[in-house]
Symmetry: C2
Subunit: 460 residues, 2 copies
């Protein structure tokens, strides 16, 4: 097993650096480059790779080019609308778009148009961003994957359910793609495709107009760089707000400054037992490197509060699956009535069990989730952020299984912000490390992420 | 002005008693009546009154009759599915239905089918209820009203935005109709049509699959009787759950027992200044009657906590309008792009202002709402429930203006359960009184409502 700390993603990082949208803005303003030219480079990459990667369900190149031209004019006039004016963006096909069908990874929605934009799409268009196309999602954003392949090794899964968004960014087709996470759909594919993945605080970016209304559904970003992940998230929330009733994403409209964390808690969770000795060793080396830079590293063995948290979060995946399964009975039961093959057997089987979850059981599960969140909040005084893996290893071979969400589920159940950083390598494939912050402190987490990247000599 | 306490709605109450679904169940079981026969009586009333009332947008009588026959068979076998097996229900046309279009009161959605049931519709069908048709809503559930007239006086508004649901129940066309409330859309039309209106704790009944995702949107019931309001709500929540992440509606599957409250706080709010002396006098007489039955009545003049609450809730309507306006920019901005007449000028004008609300302002408004809620929670120890009016007076003449939501907004901003009871009469028209309880104590509030009705000699 080839396990190394920085080798191949430093190559990959150079690739992505070429794509980092934010770095191009000065050139757009001075006229040596333009959003239209940037878009054409993205389209060229799509032409080269899409046949084998299959990241997109549909694209609107005519509109994308027209919107890029309009953006080019705004830069020429010195008046871009926002930090993402002209940024080409892929949108997970759970989100409605006025110009393209929203097919939700299901044959039931083949060709279905709703003639309106989801809130985030509407907001990003207002900010001047370019909606290039819809990216493949697993059926209803859950299990049964689409045709997408991992761009770094097409015999492997790109992860799910934001398969297309993860792969499109991993292949360098777009600098940023929108995803969602309920269990592990942002952090896991980010890890498998070597991307930066950002799962914000629950509700921080408006997810209205998406086929995704579970109580852990959160809208986030796959990006080729930390900077683009931040500016896309910030501008999306600035123009679209947060989910109704939520304060949205706090922060400023520029890339976060690097911030050295005081103390990180090294978290194992139920995922640790599923990792190979090589992966564990790799993670420990990375944590050691951080510790050597003067960060206090704590863990379950030396801090009783961390141990309490670890023990409370142990059943996170089971609790999450039952909470979301219960909530997902709608609309699945309604779809199921349309015919024997309306929903995949994969989901139909699960639905039978979900239907048996009692209301009282669900209430208890919500209470358990609250308890885990309280345990997490208790770490606030002594721990700046948690650090753990983003996945148990490299993207699995084959396309049927999108990989284990066991590490990603931690930030999902907490409703807390998390970022996956493409810092490790296993089997010649990327593996992410995950840092998890506290609710509404997303910006602070970006600062920590930036600092961590800096000690591994990465341009972020 | 003809202002009386019990006269005409006691007649009306007899009418509604004939319709009370729950009272028919023993006859369904013994075979002297049937859900099919009950449905036909509803249809007969519709045939008689619909031409002038115009409560429905669409109906599916073929399916309703088939479903009623299936229900009749279940009763004959002694195996009804729930307390609402066979209950004909009208559904506000914001909620999706697999068999009928969901037109949202907007020409943009004319004839639009989504081929799926909203969560509450799916749940009620599973409980054996009969979805009779879709009821008229104001445009997008907001301002511009549809053609519906008040069944008690067709020169008057039925209120909005749940105009059709309020009128359908008021006309005796259905025992129960589903509505929603963001500002005043359940409590106000209930008052105007002489119905019982129930606005549950925020999130208590699953509103997924409705064009209504604002942070105060709540699904509730218009009903001809308190008993039917409860059983329809309880079974809806039992089969459909609450909104994702919410515990749903607490209670039991039978009509609540009458419970005499220990203390009620007589609440004025900003609405009091808008009431005529006659209406105030009428309300004071009613409160006096309750006091004479041994309930401790407190108010802003004799309880400093009530005064604090009154003063915090004073700007409730402005805060609500700005919160919901900000949240409603999506999907309105997306609709607006479709053409100059895509949305009414009424809404378009408001949208311009809503677009100018800053994210920071919205965050402050959310904090103000939280403060009002805290002030309310502080009354818990000394006050069993709040009592106030449901509207400033009778339904206004004309159809253009759906009436002032100033009294209804109190329970909306609190997220607390509220019930409108048709106990007063002004100008020969009904006027409701509103009782407001505490979050998740909806069942307790039904007990209090039942007790209040009992002292006015009403069968509930």
């Amino acid at each position: 097993m080839d396990t190394e700390l920085t080798k191949n993603k430093s190559n990959r990082n150079n690739e992505n650096k070429m794509l980092t949208f934010y770095d191009h803005v000065p050139r757009f303003l001075e006229g040596s480059d333009s959003p239209r030219a940037y878009l054409e480079r993205c389209i060229n990459t799509i032409i080269k790779r899409e046949a084998e990667v299959q990241a997109f369900v549909s694209m609107n190149l005519v509109r994308a080019r027209a919107d890029a031209d309009a953006s080019t004019m705004r830069y020429a006039a010195g008046k871009p609308l926002s930090l993402v004016d002209g940024m080409p963006i892929g949108v997970k096909d759970l989100f409605e778009t006025e110009d393209l069908p929203t097919e939700v990874g299901s044959p039931l929605f083949k060709g279905k148009c709703t003639d309106r934009d989801a809130a985030v799409v509407q907001g990003l268009r207002e900010a001047g961003a370019i909606i290039l196309g819809k990216t493949v999602t697993a059926e209803f954003g859950f299990y049964s994957p689409g045709p997408t392949r991992n761009p770094l090794d097409i015999t492997r899964t790109p992860g799910g359910s934001s398969s297309g968004s993860g792969a499109a960014v991993g292949a360098g087709m777009v600098p940023v793609a929108i995803g969602t996470q309920v269990v592990g759909s942002l952090i896991r594919p980010s890890s498998f495709n070597g991307n930066f993945g950002f799962k914000p605080t629950f509700g921080a970016i408006n997810s209205s107009g998406a086929h995704s209304n579970l109580s852990q559904s959160v809208l986030g970003m796959h990006a080729g760089s930390l900077t683009d992940a931040w500016i896309a998230s910030f501008e999306a929330a600035r123009f679209a707000g947060g989910d109704p009733g939520h304060p949205g994403l706090y922060g400023i409209d520029e890339p976060m400054m690097s911030t050295k964390p005081k103390a990180l808690a090294r978290i194992e969770t139920a995922g640790w037992q599923k990792c190979s000795p090589e992966v564990r060793e790799l993670f420990e080396r990375l944590v050691k490197r951080i510790e050597e830079k003067g960060v206090n590293i704590t863990d379950r063995f030396c801090d009783i509060n961390v141990e309490s948290f670890e023990s409370s979060v142990e059943p996170a995946l089971d609790i999450t699956n039952d909470i979301c399964g219960y909530e997902f009975r709608w609309p699945l039961s309604s779809y199921q009535r349309r015919g024997p093959n309306a929903i995949s057997s994969n989901i139909a089987q699960r639905l039978e069990r979900w239907k048996s979850i009692e209301n009282e059981t669900y209430r208890n599960l919500l209470q358990q989730r609250e308890k885990i969140r309280s345990q997490h909040e208790r770490l606030k005084d002594s721990v700046t952020a948690l650090i753990t893996l983003s996945a148990t290893g490299a993207a699995p071979k084959g396309l049927e299984y999108t990989g284990d969400p066991i590490f990603a589920v931690t930030s999902s159940i907490l409703g807390a912000p998390a970022i996956s950083l493409p810092l490790l390598e296993v089997d010649g494939m990327p593996l992410g490390i995950q840092i998890i912050g506290y609710k509404h402190r997303d910006a602070e987490l970006f600062g920590i992420a930036r600092w961590i990247m800096s000690i591994f000599d990465h341009k972020v």
